[in-house]
Symmetry: C2
Subunit: 274 residues, 2 copies
DNA sequence: TCGCGTCTGTTCACTAGTGCACTTATAGGC
DNA sequence: GCCTATAAGTGCACTAGTGAACAGACGCGA
C-alpha cells in the first residue's frame, strides 16, 4: 500500500534532502562528486495516481526520478483512442529525455501509475552536468540502454506471449520496483495497459485467485505467492533484469536492502529494485 | 529486387566514396564539417541476407549505416528459441550503439534482412567525433529518439493490432525504406518476424493477392497497390513517420528524390526514406 | 447506516489465430 | 529439360481472446 506521503502534486524549491536521493537507485549510484554536481538542482516532487507528467508532443523540460513505491508508465496512444503501456519505470530509473538527451517532443504519454514521491530536475541542467562529467554521462547512457532493452523485450513479449503470462509479468515487475506486494490497480486499468479486454483479464485474475496466487479486493490486489506468479509469467522480466544487472553491475549499488521482500522459498523479488 | 552489388560481406579499408555516404540519410544530413570529421573513418561494407551483424551479449564495435535498399532487423530471442523482430532499419538510420553510445553488450540480435551495401565505422571513432561536435551529437540524439519512437509504437502495435494490419504495416515500412516494391522474403520469414504462425500468414497474403494488392512469387512478393496496402495496415507506420519528420525536420535533407516510388494515386510511399 | 457509483464475476455467441498434416507449385542446379 | 528441395496453399480441429450484457458486491461519503 502506498504510504501516506502521496499527496497532491507539489515540489519543494531546491536542494532536496540527500535522503530522498537515496530512494532512487540511479541517484544512489552517483559518485559523490556527481551527486554534488546535480544535488543543488534537484527538487522534490510528488504526484497522485493518474497524474499525467507529459503528453505526446509536449516539450519535456524535466527529468523525473521516482522514489520508493512510485511507478510511472509510458503509454502510447493509438489512433482508435486506446492507450497501451509500453514501459514501466520505478525507483530503478528515470523518466523524461533519457534517450533524446534533452528537449524533444515526447512520443508517449507518461502517467503516474502508483502514487508517491521522488525528485526531478531540469533536463537542461542534467545535460549541462553530463557535459562536465564522463562518469555521469556513462551512467545515464547505461541506464538508457537498459530502458531500451526493456522496451525491446516488450515488443517481443506482446507478439509472443499469452495474456496470462503478460499479466503475471506485469504484476511481478511492479512488485519488484515498489517492494510492496499490494498492487493498487483495477482490473480495468490492467486490461487497458496490456491492450486487452477487461472480461478476459477478470477471468485470468480469477484463475490466479483460485490457485492461491493472489487476493482480490476492490481496486487492488495483494500477491500472496510471488514465486508462483513469476513461474506463470513469461521470462521476459528475467531477461531484462539480467541485462540491467550486467550493464549496471559495479555502477548500481549491490547492497541487499531488499525491502523485506524475500519470500520463504527464497524468490528474490527485489533483485533489480534493490 | 536488390541490385547486383549485394556480394558477400566485405569491407574496403578506408575513406569510402563520398558518393556512398549520400545513400544513407543520416550521413547525408551531416553538415560538411561533421562529414569531413568522420569520413576518413568510414569504410564501405556489404552483406548478404541472413548475415548476423551481432548477437545478444556481443560487444558491438561498429556503427553500421545501411544504404540503398539494404535493411537490417533487430531480433529479440525468446526463451523458447523463437526470434521476434522488434525494429527495422534502412537507409534512414543506423545500427549499433545508437542509444548506448558506445560499447555495451547488445541486447538484441541484428540481422541483415535485405542484402545490399552501406558504410560502417568504429563506435569509438563516432563517440570521439560526437565529443568534438555539438551538431553531430544533436543529430544522433535526434535519430536515437526517433528509433525509440519506432520501438515504442511497435510495443503498442503488437498488443493491439491484427496480424493482417501488422503484416501490411511491415511491407509498407520495408518499401518506404528500400524504395523498391519487390520484397524478397518468404512467408515463413515474415511470420517468424511477426511472431505468428506461418499458415495464417499464408492466408493473409492469399487474401491480399485476391484483392489485387500484391503478387506472390516463390520467396518474394511484389506489391502492386501500396496505397491500398497502407490503408489495410494500422496507422502505426504513419505515426512513427510523423515523429521522424518532426524531430529531423530541418536536419534531414528535404529534397524529393523519391526513387520513382510515387504511385498513380499519389500515395507518397517514400516520404520517410526520401 | 443507507445509498449509490463503480468494480468484479460470469455467461454467451462469436472471431482471430494456432499447429499439424498434407498436397501442390516453383525455381534453380545439374 | 528434368529433379529435387523448399516454399506456398489449404483443410481441420482446436484454443485464445473479444465484446456486449447484466447481476451482484464492495466500500465510500453523506
Amino acid at each position: 500500500m502506498p504510504n501516506a506521503e502521496s499527496l497532491a502534486a507539489a515540489s519543494k524549491p531546491a536542494g532536496a534532502d540527500a535522503d530522498e536521493a537515496t530512494r532512487n537507485n540511479l541517484l544512489r549510484a552517483l559518485r559523490p562528486d556527481d551527486l554534488a554536481r546535480i544535488a543543488p538542482r534537484l527538487q522534490s516532487w510528488a504526484a497522485d495516481a493518474g497524474t499525467v507528467i507529459y503528453e505526446p508532443g509536449d516539450d519535456v523540460r524535466f527529468v523525473y526520478f521516482p522514489a520508493g513505491a512510485m511507478l510511472v508508465s509510458f503509454v502510447v496512444l493509438l489512433d482508435d483512442g486506446r492507450g497501451v503501456e509500453t514501459g514501466l519505470i520505478g525507483r530503478e530509473g528515470a523518466v523524461g529525455g533519457i534517450v533524446s538527451q534533452g528537449r524533444l517532443p515526447a512520443y508517449s504519454r507518461a502517467v503516474v501509475q502508483f502514487p508517491g514521491s521522488g525528485l526531478r530536475m531540469l533536463s537542461s541542467d542534467l545535460e549541462a552536468a553530463k557535459l562536465e562529467s564522463l562518469t555521469l554521462r556513462n551512467l545515464f547512457a547505461r541506464y538508457a540502454d537498459c530502458m531500451m532493452a526493456q522496451i525491446f523485450q516488450a515488443v517481443a513479449c506482446n507478439a509472443a506471449h499469452s495474456i496470462e503470462q503478460r499479466a503475471a509479468k506485469w504484476l511481478v515487475a511492479a512488485i519488484e520496483r515498489t517492494g510492496d506486494h499490494d498492487v493498487p490497480l483495477t482490473q480495468e486499468q490492467l486490461a487497458s495497459m496490456l491492450g486487452v479486454g477487461r472480461s478476459y483479464i477478470s477471468r485470468v485474475i480469477q484463475s490466479l485467485k483460485l490457485r492461491g496466487v493472489l487476493e482480490v479486493r476492490r481496486g487492488r490486489m495483494r500477491v500472496r505467492d510471488i514465486a508462483l506468479l513469476n513461474a506463470l509469467a513469461c521470462s521476459c522480466n528475467d531477461l531484462v533484469r539480467h541485462h540491467f544487472e550486467e550493464v549496471l553491475r559495479g555502477v548500481y549499488p549491490t547492497e541487499q536492502e531488499s525491502a523485506g521482500l524475500k519470500d520463504e522459498d527464497g524468490f528474490e523479488a527485489a533483485r533489480m529494485a534493490s
